[in-house]
Subunit: 351 residues, 2 copies
């Protein structure tokens, strides 16, 4: 039985969504997925206005199919100098190891939430699909986005979050299972023990809401797509499997880690940004504990780690690199994203 | 495409295994599942020899279909008086609250691992299927079990554990996803971050071993069964969904919790036994932290909590009760286990 609610709503051929992955992809990956008939996504949270404008021009020029812009909806934290000082003290031995002068490290947010200014910037392109992580923007801003005809997707990590998102205007709920790589979309939940594996989360969200549900987390191949649809999902969102595609901008070090034995062990960590996100366990996570050390609130934690990351990567080391990755890297292949999307579509009914 | 490897190997009609759940079920539940064509299981770890003998007589008298005996394979820990003292000190405020004299609490293991004496006891009944949690028994003992024709099932929580179990003689691997209720079968893994959601674990185990793989964790209905099979599992093991069946011996307090809003929030906790097991979050877990407080090693932690549990339950409280439950209690129904098994079978291909 083919569920066409999602494809009809979004105007896509295949109910396969490419997960927006800030820092490892741009419009090239999104366009490749769109060409295959899926929904390509552009992660916007780490782009400057100039970069975002350039990417929008590329998307508009290269395809007439729908694409998805993704934004974060976190509330920027108040500066907490004591916590920042404590955090930098925890990192001091590493600064010493790499001859980094901590006094020279700029503070800086790194990731800006969706805003009226961003709405101004993107409105001219009338993005057909806009997705949000960490909740939804304020009602007036959401109304504006929906006003130009955009379909709104948002991530839920629990049944309570799914119900909240539906009540506040999301057109589609992405049920993000615990297996997913990158940032947990948690916005009502704060306790990691509330986070459910996809096989438990998806059917509970499907039962709780009336809008179409997209399954995310652990889906790496056609079999995973078939399983997600069996659970009642109207479509899937796949991230990790695309990381080795040539259209992704995944660094060579990250690519090597995804193909090595270390990819078998990921963990949720807040060390790199201040919010829990799943990545391959590396030295910083092992030594401080992936959820230890009380870094500053998201996204402030990033600034202090960045120079360590840069210095270590220059020596060929991923000791301080966030190696975002889900719990199932088995689907990662160095093949065109268009081919991968078509392979995933093999798990759809009657396709 | 119907995968008949598992049903042929175990001599069952349906590839649906009822998860052995010590403390909440005996032969009655196992027999009901057998009647429906699935594989019923008797959890043996908490039975005295007399109780085990009586249950075996019942199973042998009531069915000619195969059934499964389940045992634990932990290495009994050395007594650690300092840790026990520390643990009882952490519980002291609760003892005071319930007027319990800590000096009067007996130590005691609570759960014995599989042994030559247990093999002597069960051999006369030639159990057709024997399953193990926390690894496998020593090679000579395993050879004895297989020698009377029993098929051996064992739980893996990671790809490494699955490979180890296959190399050491398991005929079937149960891939226990993080969603599962009760004790994690971890025996090589010690770090909880190695534990994968079913949607990630099952396909990776299927690819890693040649023996049939049974998916466990989060499967609550026919849709879950279909999803597990789509991932390559040859069958499923279902536990939580059976807890409300009249044939289970689940206590009224536990039944109420499974049907209340609290069932939506489970966590892995070592507070009740010393090993991580998933249960509904209750007062003890909230106040000490589910993985906090350093209780004695499995199964020694149990003794000190038992009198608190007894006293609280007498007042109608589950504050100190292990309310084992998986991450998906949606499938719990107060219906005959035979009916539930047939409902689950609705997710099988061409059935």
């Amino acid at each position: 039985m083919k569920d066409t609610r999602l494809t009809a709503l979004l105007g896509i051929e295949l109910p396969i969504l490419q997960a927006p992955m800030a820092g490892v992809q741009g419009s090239a990956l999104a366009l490749a997925v769109c060409r295959a008939g899926g929904l390509g996504a552009l992660p916007c949270a780490m782009l400057t206005p100039e970069m975002l404008r350039a990417e929008l021009e590329t998307l508009a020029a290269e395809t007439t199919r729908p694409w998805n812009l993704n934004f974060f909806c976190h509330v920027p934290p108040a500066p907490a100098p004591a916590r920042e000082t404590h955090w930098r003290a925890r990192l001091a031995p590493y600064y010493a190891e790499y001859d980094i002068d901590p006094a020279g490290i700029p503070a800086g947010p790194g990731r800006a939430p969706f805003s009226a200014a961003l709405a101004d910037l993107i409105e001219a392109w009338r993005p057909p699909v806009v997705s949000f992580h960490f909740g939804l923007p304020a009602p007036a801003l959401l109304t504006r986005v929906k006003g130009w005809g955009a379909r709104v997707l948002a991530s839920a990590t629990s049944v309570a979050e799914a119900r909240w998102l539906e009540a506040h205007g999301a057109d589609v709920i992405i049920a993000q299972g615990l297996e997913a790589g990158g940032h947990r979309g948690m916005f009502l939940e704060t306790d990691l023990s509330t986070q459910l594996g996809s096989l438990a989360l998806v059917p509970q969200v499907v039962q709780a809401v009336n809008v179409p549900v997209v399954a995310a987390g652990g889906i790496a191949d056609a079999a995973g797509v078939a399983a997600a649809l069996a659970l009642g999902a109207a479509g899937v969102q796949v991230g990790t499997a695309y990381l080795l595609c040539p259209e992704a901008t995944t660094s060579p070090l990250h690519r090597a880690a995804l193909q090595g034995p270390e990819a078998a062990h990921t963990a949720l960590t807040h060390l790199f940004t201040g919010r829990p996100a799943r990545g391959i366990v590396n030295r910083l996570m092992r030594e401080l504990g992936p959820m230890g050390a009380e870094p500053p609130a998201f996204p402030l934690a990033t600034a202090a780690v960045t120079p360590l990351r840069t210095a270590a990567e220059a020596r060929g080391s991923t000791d301080f690199t966030p190696l975002w990755c889900g719990q199932n890297a088995q689907g990662c292949q160095n093949i065109a994203a268009e081919t991968l999307t078509r392979q995933l579509a093999g798990g759809l009914p009657r396709h």
